[in-house]
Amino acid sequence: MTQNMDMSTKIPLARPEIDQEPTDMEGIGVVERPLGFADRLMGNDAFRRALFLIFLAVAWESYARYVHNPLLFPSFLDTITTFWTDMANGTLIQRTYTSIQVLLLGYGIGLVAAGVFTTLAVSTKIGTDILTTLTAMFNPLPAIAMLPLALLWFGLGVSSMAFVIVHSVLWAVSLNVLTGFRSVPETLRMSGRNYGLTGMRYVTKILMPAAFPSILAGLKIGWAFAWRTLIAAELVFGVSSRAGGLGWYIFEARAELYTSKVFAGLLAVIIIGLVVESVIFKFIENRTVQRWGMQR
């Protein structure tokens, strides 16, 4: 009650109005000036990432020196030296080339299959249900678990590798693309159909670009899955064709207790991953979803 009475006495005071010229600007210094070199450098993504990588390398080197056990944990410099030697004599390049060939084959088939599946699935409700069930069944199934089957069906060779890679790529990408298609705003769909777009034209001209952030995420995840599966498969059954791949390179090095070579092999996988992510996917991202304001 007392509070209420207090409230009733609170009325706005009659204060004088203000009408003045804006403060004189002479003392302000600058209104707008270009950022300094340091500010711009720190604003650069690539620079900040490089800085982080250098920090990692230094941490690695110091820890390795502290442990001082090259058999278990070779230092950064040892690894780099081995990496460089094997790059120079062509071993690593040859192995990487072999791996990437199989990888691209599997990845490519997986993407095309995912594209076909999702396009078929999105046009009908039943199709969506079927694909959702299939991805729910097969996505959690590790590709490596399919390896014995692949060996039975295709024997030792590129086809088996491609098969397991397709398996690992297909379901993950399908899931992402289908999710993307289904989250396209209803208004945008209606706009597209308003112009009489149906079937393939509707999918390629409306759904695909509208779902592009999800599709791009799917491509990235698919790429990572493909790599993992490939290296794992090579580690399990070694040589896939005439020459072994990166996984085989790592496997061999382990057998010879050549730990810095194991690290060099892993480093090669990481570097390829970094380059693909920060060059290829980054390029696509800048040209599409970022320019369109669909992603920050």
């Binding site: 208004t187 209606m190 159909r193 112009y195 509208a210 320019r291 369109w292 304001g293």
Partner: protein, 270 residues
Amino acid sequence: MTSPETRPDLDLGTPLLDVNGVTLRYKTPEHLVTATYRVSFEVYEAERFVILGPSGCGKSTMLKAIGGFLPPVEGEIRIRDKLVRGPGPDRMMVFQEFEQLMPWKTVLQNVTFPMNVTGRFNRKEARERALSALDKVNLSKFSDIYPHMLSGGMKMRVAIARAMAMEPEVLLMDEPFAALDALTRRKMQEELLGLWEQLKFTVLFVTHSIEEAVIVGSRILVLSPHPGRVRAELNSGIDLDTPSRDALSERIHKLLFEEAVEPEPEVEVT
């Protein structure tokens, strides 16, 4: 009490759009909803026909049906005596949501897109028409910008330009200004009327705001609440003076709320 705009040169005999005894139903996950029941009306060329009603009277559903997205369970919808069987670019839709623009296309590409995919105009023609449409809505300067950089009102202008450039038989607008702030909405209403003065297109405009209906419409169809049935069809017009406008608003308000238990203080029906 209201004077219809005079159009001596128009043949009122054949309606452009004929909606005859249309009942619409749609399914939600739990219910089968009857949105409108045996609604009939006719829209003639160059009319600014407003469908007005409270939320849930099926006015947007009716517009979707005319757009060809929802087949009627009873009755029929004809455009120039041709039965509506599906969506088509002869009925360009403008929606309330800003997502109707394609974010992966620039403003200009958004406007040319329907002209290109329908093949009604060749590329050069489409571009010229798009530029002139953008000029009419004062967006020439922004033609190479992506939609995410535009304000809400500008996005709506692009959507209108896109629809107008197609020269549809009828322009279908589903509460196009509802998501805009009051000042912008007012401006857009005036711009729409300005465009109409220039081009004399036929527009079917859905709104829940009595004020907007009276400003924008030349003829107003008042639907009763759930399920929507025709309550009245009234004349309005640009040339109405303020007192007759107020009287018309008052009359519509009575039509909509005479049965209501408590009268709403707001003119706008939400």
